[in-house]
């Protein structure tokens, strides 16, 4: 009997050893998943970076030849200033560590450094620095959105000051309301990747700016609205395709890990909404203008992308198609609408980012797994609160600049072109 038992009685070290190995495996498994998740967010950050090239190309293509150097210069500086200010204060403003859920504002500390364990699995699905860089790439986009709308007439210095403060102060405080676990989050407001928090914020900033800035010379004449065609549509086309590409990082990365189910759904809804946006704009622009307007289809794609951004993870592909179609269809109407109001927006930033951003945010209350009257109400509250706050901030800041250093170049400089006036350079020889 004892013998029988004896041969069963193996060394307990084996089991101890096994236990230890298995528990190491548990850690290793978590770390492997962490490694993959973290990698995805970094790759997504690089893809979001490409959106800045997309914006630059789009905006450069949609302005006149004489303002191309200026728009490139502004965009190169925005991404630089955006990254640096977000590093200095933005990230801390947006994600306060002394997290007080449901708050409105929290005083930031200056500069960033990861705390104990923040570079490992303890921080979440990615490291502290991954978190920062992914968010930082987002931050600069909202200033870039403004840059297109105010193109061809704003003073470089005023624009840089405006952008710097917009990115460093306004964007992160608003973002904190939702993504930093502030009051909008507590309310139940939903904005997956930023239809409102990024795109509408940019759009409201753009709206405030163009109201104060006024239209380009010769745009709204007694003889009616004069089109001022962009100088290089292939450049604009490249821009839109790159933005679409970058959006896979923007939306796909906003899953905040590499969850196969979630990320692949987001890729599909993003793709289908963009495609439907093209079709929507194709149809309405043809119906309205009897013409196949490339600039509208390009904006329609962007509209579809902005539209799906708030609910890319909540929508079925069918719903994504509907959201995109509507977003694309809105674009031509919206462009004409702003023109009627004599709000001059050379690249259509207000239509694409503001209007479709609002539409996308509302759509979360209408379609998808979160839909419902209560949700729609919350979405509306979020839209309104963000709109009022951002518009006010942007308007006051621009107004202050207008009354001090001035925001608009002289008529002569505008006629000559900002490339000459601000850079004494030419884009093309």
């Amino acid at each position: 009997m004892i013998d029988t038992l004896a041969h069963l009685a193996f060394d307990p070290n084996i089991v101890n050893g096994l236990q230890e190995t298995v528990s190491q495996h548990s850690t290793a498994l978590i770390e492997n998943q962490f490694r993959t998740d973290n990698l995805w967010i970094l790759v997504a950050a690089a893809m979001v970076f490409i959106m800045h090239l997309g914006f630059s190309a789009l905006e450069a293509g949609f302005v006149r030849k004489k303002n191309v150097v200026n728009i490139l210069f502004k965009n190169a500086m925005i991404i630089a200033i955006g990254l640096l200010t977000y590093y200095a204060v933005g990230f801390n403003l947006m994600y306060p560590t002394d997290v007080e859920p449901g708050g409105w504002f929290s005083l930031p500390s200056l500069g960033l450094s990861p705390g104990e364990g923040d570079m490992g699995t303890g921080y979440g699905d990615y490291t502290f620095w991954t978190d920062f860089i992914f968010q930082a790439m987002f931050a600069a986009t909202c200033a870039t959105i403004v840059s297109g709308a105010v193109a061809e007439r704003i003073k470089l210095n005023s624009f840089l000051i405006f952008s710097g403060l917009f990115v460093a102060v306004c964007y992160p405080i608003i973002g904190m309301w939702k993504w930093g676990k502030g009051w909008l989050d507590a309310l139940g407001f939903i904005d997956f990747a930023g239809s409102t928090l990024v795109h509408s914020v940019g759009g409201w900033g753009a709206l405030a700016a163009i109201i104060l800035l006024g239209p380009r010379l010769g745009k709204y004449t007694e003889r009616g609205i004069k089109a001022i065609p962009g100088h290089n549509l292939p450049l604009a086309g490249i821009g839109v395709f790159l933005l679409w590409f970058g959006w896979y990082g923007f939306n796909g990365g906003s899953v905040l890990n590499a969850n196969p189910e979630a990320v692949s759904l987001v890729f599909v809804t993003t793709s289908l909404s963009a495609a439907a946006g093209a079709v929507g704009a194709f149809i309405t622009s043809y119906v309205l203008f009897k013409i196949h307007d490339l600039s509208m289809v390009l904006n329609g794609i962007l509209g579809g992308l902005v539209g799906i951004t708030a609910g890319a993870d909540l929508m079925s592909p069918n719903e994504a198609v509907i959201i995109g179609l509507i977003a694309g269809a809105i674009i031509p109407f919206s462009v004409v609408f702003f023109d009627r109001l004599k709000l001059d927006d050379p690249v259509g930033a207000t239509s694409v980012h503001l209007i479709c951003g609002i539409w996308g945010t509302l759509a979360v209350g209408i379609f998808g797994s979160a839909a419902g009257w209560a949700q729609l109400g919350n979405q509306a509250i979020g839209i309104a609160a963000v709109g009022i706050a951002t518009f006010t901030f942007a308007f006051l800041l621009m107004f202050l600049l207008k009354k001090t250093i001035g925001i608009r170049v002289s008529n002569k400089d505008e006629e000559r072109g900002l490339d000459w006036a601000e850079h004494s350079m030419k884009a093309y020889e």
Binding site: I225, K226, A227, P229, L288, F289, D293, V336, D339
Partner: protein, 111 residues
């Protein structure tokens, strides 16, 4: 000597060049110009139709001796003709003298 200045449609240029070559006139100078005239083209951009006022046209400058003027003018006229508004104009000027830079040819010899 005369200078013939013809403003023609872009799309007729190949025909004009070939017709001129057929009467053995192969030397001329071409410029791209913008014509403001009766013919209009409306363009659309972002929902606003606009009239760029001008239509891209070509100007052919030909220096020639007095005797060839009629032949050249009627050749251009025929080749550039479509009958629709916007076919363009031909103007003839007097030239004091012409020189060839490459050698000492002057006037009729230099053409």
């Amino acid at each position: 000597m005369k200078k013939i200045e013809a403003i023609i449609r872009l799309s007729r240029f190949d025909a004009v060049r070939d017709a001129l070559a057929d009467i053995d006139l192969r030397f001329f100078t071409l410029s791209e110009v913008k014509g403001f005239g009766l013919q209009k083209e409306q363009r659309t951009y972002r929902g606003s139709t606009y009239d760029p006022d001008y239509i891209a046209r070509l100007r052919i400058d030909i220096l020639t001796s007095d005797v060839r003027v009629d032949e050249i003018v009627s050749t251009i006229k025929k080749a550039a003709y479509t009958g629709e508004v916007g076919d363009g104009k031909i103007a003839i000027y007097n030239v004091d003298s012409v020189l060839r830079i490459r050698n000492d040819d002057k006037d009729e010899n230099a053409i």
